[in-house]
């Protein structure tokens, strides 16, 4: 299990993580969502032992990870850069990482490399951004660490390759209970890959839930009432526990609200709406509306 206990990380005057509590169970495909500068990459770097926390603890299987060789050998971090080790060929890169990770599997490497078919003896500096990404991902999977951290891992991959990489990761998760932590702004991919996700904003976790349950607890409600002359306000819907968004388009009201469908319908019943359609939100919509509540609103630009 990967754990952040009241973790604080500062960069000078800027607080990137402010007392974050997080647990990522083994075998999970965990997605890190958040606005720019929310602290997603910082969490990955803390888990990979690159950063040391200013406060709290960062644990891998109960061990502090910073400056701990044993803990670090359990983690492989694929960062969002693609320019490292330019002078290596794919094979040299493989040999290099093989030296540091005891579980490195030549078999898996050959298999994955065979699928992707990257040039083996050309320097990485001659690779495209997507090819470099493929190379480091297959090496990361081949290292066979219990934890694989991917920062914008699918950035630069073509759609076909995205599918291939996702399948590779899914296979690894199935075969050896790999824990994958993915940080991405591509919510569709998180939606497809992850079973759990956490939303970060300004160094704090807004929510940390399983995606299936998350999707079922936030609804978009379309309402229409018989009395068209009456103007309903947000306060008229106070029976709904948590409204994330409220607006009106002529006689149609749109509400984004948290809660189970039955509970929401029960809350609306006293108002006798003539139309009450409930639509589950996509992850992207949840992301937008959750952050809108926190003032991170695209409407500001409009």
């Amino acid at each position: 299990m990967m754990t952040l206990q009241s973790t604080v990380k500062r960069f000078g005057d800027f607080t990137a993580l402010d007392g974050v509590e997080l647990e990522i169970p083994k075998g999970t495909a965990f997605g890190l969502l958040g606005s720019n500068g929310a602290g997603k990459s910082t969490i990955l770097r803390l888990f990979s032992g690159i950063y040391s926390p200013e406060g709290g603890r960062v644990l891998i299987d109960g061990e502090d990870v910073y400056d701990n060789v044993a803990a670090k050998q359990k983690v492989f971090f694929v960062n969002d850069e693609t320019v490292q080790f330019q002078s290596f060929t794919l094979i040299q890169l493989k040999d290099f990482y093989k030296q540091f990770y005891p579980n490195f599997s030549e078999e898996i490497f050959e298999k994955l490399e065979g699928i992707i078919n990257l040039p083996r003896d050309k320097k990485l500096s001659t690779f495209s951004k997507g090819m470099k990404r493929q190379a480091i991902v297959i090496i990361g999977i081949s290292c066979c660490t219990p934890y694989l951290l991917l920062d914008e891992a699918f950035d630069g991959l073509d759609p076909t390759m995205r599918i291939i990489v996702k399948r590779m990761l899914a296979d690894a998760m199935c075969e050896r209970e790999l824990t994958v932590v993915i940080s991405s702004h591509n919510l569709k991919e998180i939606n497809e890959m992850c079973d759990t996700a956490a939303l970060l904003h300004q160094g704090k976790i807004i929510f940390n839930r399983q995606l299936d349950s998350l999707k079922g607890t936030v609804h978009k409600i379309q309402l229409a009432f018989a009395d068209r002359e009456r103007e309903y306000t947000k306060e008229d819907f106070s029976a709904i526990p948590e409204i994330l968004h409220f607006d009106r388009n002529q006689s149609i009201y749109h509400i984004i609200a948290k809660g189970e469908e039955e509970d929401l319908r029960a809350a609306l019943e006293p108002l006798h709406p003539v139309v009450a359609d409930m639509i589950p939100l996509t992850l992207e919509e949840i992301f937008i509306y959750e952050l809108e509540v926190l003032g991170y609103d695209s409407q500001v630009f409009a």
Binding site: Y51, K72, F76, E81, F85, S87, Q92, F96, F100, S105
Partner: protein, 892 residues
């Protein structure tokens, strides 16, 4: 899947460093590896050539150029150490690599040391290989060297080569370690590649540069030897250390008799065993390298991944660099250019600050820190100078702690002395203490006079009267002669800036330089430069010149002098022929005789000379007449004097056919029949002046010194007051008169005149062609006889003529043009005097014939002199001998 065992993770990271920087590693390795053989091969070939028979030499090529190329390759490869360090620690300045390198399963310590060792392998390993290759080449070449049976292996060229190679390569090895460690430390402190490079380059230059500038500044104000202080630089930085090593090698590590680099220890010509210092230096450099490494390690541990790319992660490195740079510039304040220096320092400081801050953020803080730096630097300089380097200047080591003391002083007969005699050492330290004490409590009279004069006179003029120095020299309370640097051999006269009367000069008291170098039991060297007045120098001479070392050193130096003078120099040194010629000098005359016996005769002379020196005390020597001198001219301070009490030497000279030089013999070279040629050189004419005891003075009665300069250390009192109109004539008349005959009384007087004579009793002084002699009081009757007998009209007439026409003859004395050159003077002088000569000769001839017009005779007394009433009375006066032998002196 089973996990493999990975026991050598750090080693693997080290290999990663090498692999990532393999291009640089290859370049460095190639340069380094070829440099050793390229340097050593020509050297061993040269050794083989030197030892081979002349026939065989033709088949051995000279490979000096290859050695030069090898040295170049080595220099470049050594310089690459900085880049090896920078490239090994890429995680400190390359953002793209931080994540990957920090994410590797390594601890911070493992990462640091493997990075360090990875770079060291790139840098040091090729060096070790090239050194080994060098040894192999020496081993291969050694059997071809033909041994010289007269030499031990240690003395042979091959032995020297092996010594050089062993000590030189070991020295360079530790220097490379220091350089690499320092570069690592700097790299760890920096956040970007640009910073790493320029900070490395600047600091490597600034550390020795600023230290040198500070030490230079201090030593220019405090009497501590800069050369000795420079020694510190060799122990404090890679660049300084490299200079130190080069000088060590230049001096063959102290194995040879001649060791040019030893001035680093304060000694210029003496041999000292440098090996202890060499090993001490090795130890200090290694210690410094270790300190740099530990500092880099500790800073690296505290450094975080996110610091990469930040300007100066450890700001101290930046401020160290900036402070060194500012202090270096501020050292220029010593050149009295305060405004420009401060402005320049400010510009450099603020430009650096703007670059570091990427703008003008909190710029007021930069202004404050700059002001603080300037105030602190100037304050420290001021404090150091005012406290005489915190009392260090006045520190005199205890005699018991000194193994030897080296003394070098002006007018010391060309040799320095290194005393090991406990008694002499104690006397020297006591003398040193007394000098320090008396200068601390009250400046010497000479200093006081000079200080007063420096306020009064802005210009100084040397004795020739036509070269002006526009400098006003600062006077140091403890150094009475700092301003004498360029004019050490001359007596200085000051002239007021707005001076109207050209005769109104002021005279500076003469000072003498003295360097003391103590070598202590602890192996340290304490060096002091000081300036002594004449009395103090006399005191020092009395300590040194009674020692056995003085006698043996002078005798040895005499042997060397004559050997080099008469010997034939070939590759084996000077070879003295069986028959050779020796010349002795006395005043203006000399004798040369052929001597047989070769170098044995010279050794015999030196031995006799040594015994004679021992036979007389320095006190006795000061009053003894000089029989003759060896070497140079008679009046040169480096000449070897033979006093009349040197019986063995004189006896030997007489055996060789020399006779005592008499006064007429001294002047025999004058061409009596050709007055024109007689006037062609300064010494072909005779100008004689006699001064009564109350009319002349010296800086010290204890040490009346005659040297190369005219009238050195002898002054007409009226000159000192700046009111003597004759002063100008005193300068001008030196080549204005000539003689063909000698008046017997003058001859008798010159025979008893002594160059040195120490007496509290008042003495007459006779100045011959500007050179002063003392007349011992017992011969006062001879002086009076000369003056009484003198019919002075002849020469006085000439003098009067010159005085009246001086402005036409030497116009430069009457102009304020400081640029008037010696050549101009000489050319004009020659032209004009040729024209005037006819008239002068006519006058003299007329005087000779008793046909001198009455007005010429009556005009002999100069109007100014008469008015002031300061010219000599009947008891003394200016005396010249004209061509007919008549003596000119002031009228009664």
């Amino acid at each position: 899947m089973t996990a493999r065992s990975l026991p050598n993770l750090p080693l693997r990271n080290m290999l990663r460093v090498l692999r990532q920087n393999r291009k640089m590693a290859i370049v460095t390795s190639i340069l380094m590896v070829i440099s050793g053989p390229l340097i050593v091969t020509p050297l061993i070939v040269e050794v083989i050539r030197d030892s081979a028979a002349s026939e065989a030499r033709r088949y051995l090529p000279s490979l000096e150029m290859y050695a030069g190329i090898g040295a170049f390759c080595l220099a470049v490869a050594v310089f690459m150490g900085m880049f090896c360090a920078i490239c090994s620690f890429t995680e400190t300045h390359k953002k793209s690599q931080v994540d990957m390198l920090y994410a590797l399963p390594l601890t911070g310590n493992q990462r640091f040391f493997t990075d360090f060792l990875g770079g060291a392998c790139m840098y040091i390993l090729p060096y070790i290989i090239t050194v080994i290759l060098g040894w192999i080449i020496i081993a291969i070449g050694s059997p071809f060297v033909t041994p010289d049976p007269s030499e031990t292996f240690f003395e042979s060229d091959l032995g020297v080569l092996i010594r050089y190679y062993a000590l030189g390569t070991a020295g360079l090895f530790v220097l490379m370690l220091l350089y690499y460690s320092l570069s690592t430390l700097i790299t760890v402190c920096c956040g970007t590649l640009f910073e790493c490079i320029y900070t490395n380059i600047l600091l490597n230059g600034l550390i020795p540069g600023t230290i040198a500038a500070i030490l230079g500044l201090i030593s220019s104000h405090v009497d501590l030897s800069f050369e000795y202080l420079w020694h510190i630089i060799g122990f404090m930085s890679p660049v300084g250390g490299l200079c130190y090593l080069i000088y060590l090698m230049d001096g063959d590590f102290g194995f040879n008799d001649y060791c040019s680099w030893t001035y680093l220890r304060g000694a210029e010509t003496h041999n000292h065993d440098m090996l202890p210092n060499y090993f001490r230096w090795i130890f200090v450099i290694l210690l410094l390298a270790a300190i740099c490494l530990i500092a880099a390690w500790q800073l690296y541990k505290r450094r975080k991944a996110e610091h990469v790319g930040k300007p100066f992660v450890y700001i101290a490195a930046y401020y160290v660099m900036l402070t060194l740079l500012t202090v270096l510039i501020l050292c220029l304040l010593d050149f009295n250019v305060v405004g420009p220096v401060l402005l320049f320092a400010a510009i450099v400081y603020f430009v650096c600050e703007v670059i570091r801050k990427r703008g003008f953020k909190r710029f007021w803080l930069s202004i404050l820190t700059f002001i603080g730096t300037v105030v602190v630097t100037v304050g420290v300089f001021f404090l150091v100078i005012k406290t005489d380097c915190f009392g260090r200047e006045k520190f005199v080591p205890a005699a018991a702690t000194i193994t030897s003391v080296e003394v070098s002083y002006s007018a010391s007969c060309s040799e320095d002395f290194e005393f090991t005699d406990r008694e002499v050492i104690a006397k020297i330290t006591d003398f040193h203490k007394s000098i320090v004490e008396r200068k601390k409590t009250s400046p010497s009279p000479a200093t006081a006079i000079n200080k007063e004069l420096s306020k009064k006179f802005l210009y100084q003029v040397d004795y020739t009267g036509y070269e002006y120095a526009e400098d006003t020299y600062e006077l140091d309370p403890i150094s009475t002669g700092g301003y004498y640097d360029d004019y050490d051999n001359f007596t200085l006269f000051g002239e007021k800036e707005d001076q109207e009367d050209p005769s109104d000069y002021g005279r500076y008291a003469e000072t003498f330089s003295c360097d003391l170098t103590y070598y202590t039991l602890a192996g340290t060297v304490i060096h002091r430069d000081m300036y002594l007045n004449a009395d103090e120098l006399a005191e020092l001479r009395s300590i040194l010149h009674d020692s056995d070392l003085y006698a043996s050193t002078c005798a040895s130096a005499l042997n060397t002098l004559i050997t080099q003078d008469v010997g034939i120099n070939d590759t084996n040194g000077y070879r003295v022929p069986d028959v050779f010629r020796i010349t002795i000098h006395k005043s203006l005359g000399k004798q040369t005789r052929a001597v047989s016996g070769g170098s044995a005769s010279i050794a015999q002379l030196a031995a006799a000379y040594e015994r004679d020196i021992r036979s007389m005390t320095s006190e006795q020597r000061r009053t003894a007449p000089i029989y003759c001198t060896f070497g140079e001219e008679y009046d040169n301070s480096s000449a070897f004097k033979v006093y009349e009490g040197y019986n063995e030497t004189i006896a030997l000279l007489e055996v060789w056919g020399f006779t005592k030089l008499t006064v007429p013999e001294r002047y025999d070279f004058l061409d009596k029949d050709n007055p024109t040629s007689a006037q062609a050189t300064n010494q072909s004419v005779l100008s004689i002046r006699i001064y009564a005891p109350d009319q002349w003075s010296t800086d010290s009665l204890k040490y009346p010194n005659s040297s190369v300069s005219y009238s050195r250390n002898t002054f007409v009192n009226a000159d000192i007051d700046g009111k003597n109109p004759a002063y100008k004539d005193h300068l001008m008349l030196f080549d204005g008169l000539r003689t063909e005959d000698y008046y017997p009384e003058i001859i008798a007087l010159l025979d008893v005149a002594q160059e040195e004579y120490i007496s509290e009793e008042p003495c007459y002084c006779i100045i011959v062609n500007g050179e002063r002699y003392i007349i011992p009081p017992k011969h006062n009757d001879l002086v009076k006889a000369v003056i009484e007998k003198g019919d002075l009209y002849g020469s006085q007439a000439v003098e009067t003529y010159i005085n009246e026409h001086a402005a036409e003859i030497w116009p430069q004395y009457y102009t304020t043009d400081d640029q008037y050159t010696d050549d101009q003077y000489t050319d004009e002088y020659n032209e004009e005097t040729n024209e005037e000569e006819t008239d002068m000769n006519a006058n003299v001839s007329a005087g000779d014939a008793g046909e001198t017009p009455a007005e010429t005779v009556s005009g002999a007394v100069e109007p100014e002199t008469a008015a002031d009433g300061e010219m000599p009375d009947t008891t003394a006066g200016d005396v010249t001998i004209n061509s007919s032998g008549a003596i000119a002196a002031p009228a009664a």
